[in-house]
């Protein structure tokens, strides 16, 4: 039934993450099972229940932008700044940055991203100006006195489509351009859409990825309010322990990852180095009216079955399961139950890697970070160990890779992500030739 169009290959990777901003550092940290979760440094997190995050440290977007384009940096917020570094690395890694043969009308961008939060300082004067002498908020004062204090491009800095737009402008990419705003399912959905765009022939090359920063006071407060967040502030590296007996909630994160997807024909013609093939995808949604982490097991099980079918793969073909695994007790157990339902007796034999133990939960970007981490695993023939995992949660009953990297019997992974209201998306990736 599904589209028998062109094969879609992965030919470039870029990542800006709490574990580092180049592929080699990230792999070294992953394979050592290290967590990038720390006490928040970008601002004083005192006052928040959760004061830890997978934060990107020491990143400068200026490094990734040519001199004549640097003034654009002023209208980019954190999410976009992270994205442009990852995009440049991916293009460079794919050998496309300087390649004169790139048809820019047939090269596009699809990212997962979401509405971004204004830098608080940008609104400080406005916040003062809109209160009257009694300290009451007044819309009349807002209109008269606050609006004129704000920068002209204020709104454009924070729209969800800005990472994809800036990347298209920086590299003159005139092909299909889209931004998917589906929380933790967003990046996986973006990869799937980019894959279909190539399969149907609307582009030869797509940059697929995601970018989000939750290391922001408002975003952190929001996550704390939504619940299921780890408050193990005295042990940041041990705070996110998916499927472990001591799991106690998710940890916020930030980052960006971008992957160059390319039609097989295009990649072969230019002699590109090929990491792997994106060979299957699926998405489901069982709307979750009570707004808890109790996402229906059925939706996740179904997305797993359908992604395997889409790739023409059986449970035995899963090299490792690239889990959503965010460390929430309920979500971990629901996901484990779904994996058992989808794979039956085979579920216990599938190595499971929850990359949120390394990166934290970077919202719409989490799928992209975990995708790149997964492809690095395929490249090295290993499933990297989970950070912080010690003892199994008996209710999960999964084979979580921990301690040492595990050699892969099959070079492939199944990646699943879902959000708290029941939206799920899955991808299947396998090494070419296996």
């Amino acid at each position: 039934m599904s589209d028998q169009g062109r094969r879609v290959l992965i030919t470039g990777l870029g990542i800006v993450s709490p574990l580092g901003c180049d592929l080699q550092s990230v792999w070294e940290q992953l394979s050592a099972g290290r967590s990038g979760i720390r006490r928040i440094e970008a601002f004083d997190p005192e006052g928040l229940p959760s004061q830890i995050a997978g934060e990107v440290i020491g990143y400068s977007a200026r490094k990734y932008v040519d001199r004549q384009q640097r003034k654009a940096l002023k209208v980019m917020c954190r999410d976009t700044l992270l994205a442009i570094g990852a995009a440049r690395m991916a293009l460079e890694d794919a050998g496309l940055l300087e390649w004169a043969g790139l048809d820019r009308e047939r090269t596009g961008v699809v990212f997962g991203a979401t509405m971004m939060s204004s830098e608080l300082e940008e609104l400080a004067e406005a916040a003062v100006a809109c209160h009257d002498e009694q300290g009451q908020f007044s819309l009349k004062l807002w209109g008269e006195r606050s609006i004129p204090t704000m920068p002209p491009l204020w709104m454009l800095k924070y729209l969800p489509n800005m990472p994809a737009c800036h990347v298209s402008i920086l590299y003159d990419l005139q092909g299909p351009n889209n931004t998917i705003t589906m929380e933790e399912a967003a990046s996986n959905l973006a990869f799937a859409e980019a894959m279909r765009i190539i399969q149907r022939g609307d582009a030869d090359v797509m940059l697929a990825g995601g970018a989000e920063s939750n290391v922001h006071p408002l975003r952190m407060a929001r996550l704390c309010l939504l619940g299921d967040i780890s408050t193990r502030n005295d042990d940041p590296a041990g705070a996110c322990r998916p499927f472990d007996r001591d799991h106690c909630g998710l940890v916020a994160g930030e980052g960006a990852a971008v992957v160059v997807l390319e039609s097989e024909e295009h990649a072969r013609r230019r002699g590109a180095r090929v990491y792997a093939e994106l060979s299957g995808e699926a998405a489901t949604c069982v709307a979750n009216a009570d707004r808890s982490w109790q996402v229906a097991v059925e939706a996740i099980a179904e997305v797993i079955r359908r992604a395997l079918a889409s790739a023409g793969a059986d449970p035995e073909d899963i090299g490792f399961y690239n889990a959503h695994g965010n460390g929430s007790v309920v979500a971990d157990r629901v996901e484990a139950a779904a994996l058992r339902e989808a794979l039956g007796s085979k579920a216990g034999g599938v190595p499971v890697v929850p990359f949120k133990s390394h990166f934290g939960s970077a919202g719409t970007a989490c799928g992209a970070l975990e995708f790149v981490a997964g492809v690095l695993g395929l490249q090295h023939g290993q499933a990297p160990p989970s950070a912080a995992y010690r003892e199994p949660d008996p209710e999960c009953g999964l084979d979580v890779v921990h301690g040492e990297p595990r050699p892969l019997a099959v070079r492939s992974f199944l990646s699943v992500n879902f959000d708290r209201v029941g939206q799920c998306a899955a991808l299947f990736v396998r090494a070419v030739g296996d």
């Binding site: 928040l48 209160h131 004062l141 489509n161 737009c165 705003t181 069982v286």
Partner: protein, 431 residues
């Protein structure tokens, strides 16, 4: 290339707009050339540079979902507008998803982001602003204590899609895109592709958006994108007119059922038209301005024509993006001339934003539905307020009055802030 692929038809359509609470009322007002623009009532805009907008009047979800609307009481306005349209959609399409495989029925929206509770946000910020800097511990503690968790969740831009899926019982692919003003056209286009590729048989697609809130109007005013013709609200949206001075914010929702042809025929569905062309591009130029040669708009139209296997002369009507901005309308005109050559002067082009303002993410779907209605009734809705021709805009914009015409194939353009372009082509269904 087109012969073997699965065909996708429209088997349901619904909308809630500033011109009317449902499809037929909207269509009646559009045929009469009425304006839905008036003074803003949603909040006190009396000191804002722009005090006018096209609001959906007296909107209440209870009017659309009499039984069970309470479940969505805390949902954001975008989600509520989408739900209202979906309730009418399922009714009009006679679509009972419980009788289908729910995993082959998906949802793809271009529904807008919500907005922060401005009063609380400003109170928190003001309290934290001490000695010329933000004391984040003060802000943090206040935010955790005073923000409403349900509101924070419901404002996320994934929520309209999940509410629509839950209401309809659709368990298939669920997505939402935001590409500014191109979003719901792009959602429809990608939903069509999901059906063509065989992943789904039915997609509920469209969009919903209201930016008629203080931060929305503030943001567009800062960009100087909005009309400030506050003394003449109904004259403010004037695409292609020499006196245009920016767009007017509208709000609303539109939804369509996109269905694989054989599936639709088997269940005896009413077919309103067939989606035969979808074209995408990016300007890759500037955040705020379209490329001065209209290159992105040209590519998107060319790609849509190619996808449909049509020549420019096959298009009977173009529903323009036509926002009423100085540059946008001129560049779109130029782009239409580049794609259509001499025929550009013959094909009717109209901007319905002249009547209902700019529904931002929801603009595409509403205009797509107006194309289907033009095909159905043989009437082209007008561009109102076109009083003084602009020498740079010299096409047939169907000025001021609707026109009877045999419309078989229509093109709908949507071009977004930041440069994303999405065009759709729809054809009368005749077997």
């Amino acid at each position: 290339m087109a012969e073997s692929r699965r065909r996708v038809v429209v088997t349901g359509m619904a909308m809630v707009t500033p011109l009317g609470g449902d499809l037929e009322r909207t269509w009646q007002a559009a045929k009469e050339g009425r304006s839905g623009v008036d003074y803003i009532t949603r909040f006190d805009a009396s000191t804002f540079p722009t005090r006018i907008a096209a609001e959906v009047k007296n909107f209440s979800l209870a009017n659309y979902i009499p039984d069970g609307h309470e479940r969505y009481g805390s949902a954001g306005l975008n989600a509520q507008l989408a739900l209202a349209a979906t309730a009418m959609l399922l009714e009009s399409a006679r679509l009972d998803i419980s009788r289908l495989d729910p995993y082959r029925v998906g949802v793809y929206l271009g529904a807008g982001e919500g907005h922060q509770d401005l009063v609380t946000f400003m109170r928190l910020l003001r309290r934290a602003y001490q000695d010329g800097r933000i004391e984040t511990p003060v802000f943090n503690a206040g935010a955790v204590a005073e923000l409403d968790p349900v509101n924070e969740l419901e404002q996320s831009p994934n929520m309209a899609a999940v509410h629509v899926a839950g209401f309809a019982g659709a368990r298939g692919p669920n997505s939402n895109c935001l590409t500014a003003c191109a979003a719901s056209n792009q959602a429809i286009g990608e939903a069509v592709q999901l059906v063509r590729s065989g992943v789904a048989d039915v997609m509920l697609s469209g969009g919903a958006h209201s930016m008629i809130h203080p931060l929305g109007v503030t943001g567009f005013n800062l960009l100087t994108a909005l009309s400030t013709r506050n003394d003449e609200p109904t004259k403010a949206s004037r695409p292609f007119d020499l006196g245009r001075d920016g767009f007017v914010l509208g709000e609303g929702a539109g939804m369509v059922v996109l269905e694989e042809l054989e599936h639709a025929l088997r269940r005896g569905a009413t077919i309103h038209g067939e989606v035969i062309g979808y074209g995408l591009s990016a300007d890759a130029f500037r955040l705020t301005d379209p490329h001065e040669d209209g290159r992105g708009a040209v590519q998107a139209m060319v790609h849509a024509l190619r996808d449909a296997g049509l020549r420019p002369e096959d298009i009977d009507y173009i529903n323009a993006h036509g926002t009423s901005t100085r540059e946008g309308d001129a560049v779109e005109t130029l782009a239409i001339k580049k794609v259509f050559g001499d025929y550009a002067y013959k094909v009717p082009v109209s901007s319905t934003k002249s009547m209902m303002g700019h529904l931002i993410a929801a603009a595409g779907v509403v205009e797509f539905i107006l194309c289907l209605l033009a095909i159905r009734d043989g009437i082209i809705p007008p561009t109102i307020n076109l009083e003084t021709p602009d020498p740079e805009c010299d096409l047939d914009y169907v000025p001021n009055e609707a026109r009877a015409a045999d419309v078989r194939i229509a093109l709908s353009n949507s071009f977004g802030f930041g440069g994303q372009n999405a065009c759709l082509i729809v054809r009368r269904f005749d077997g």
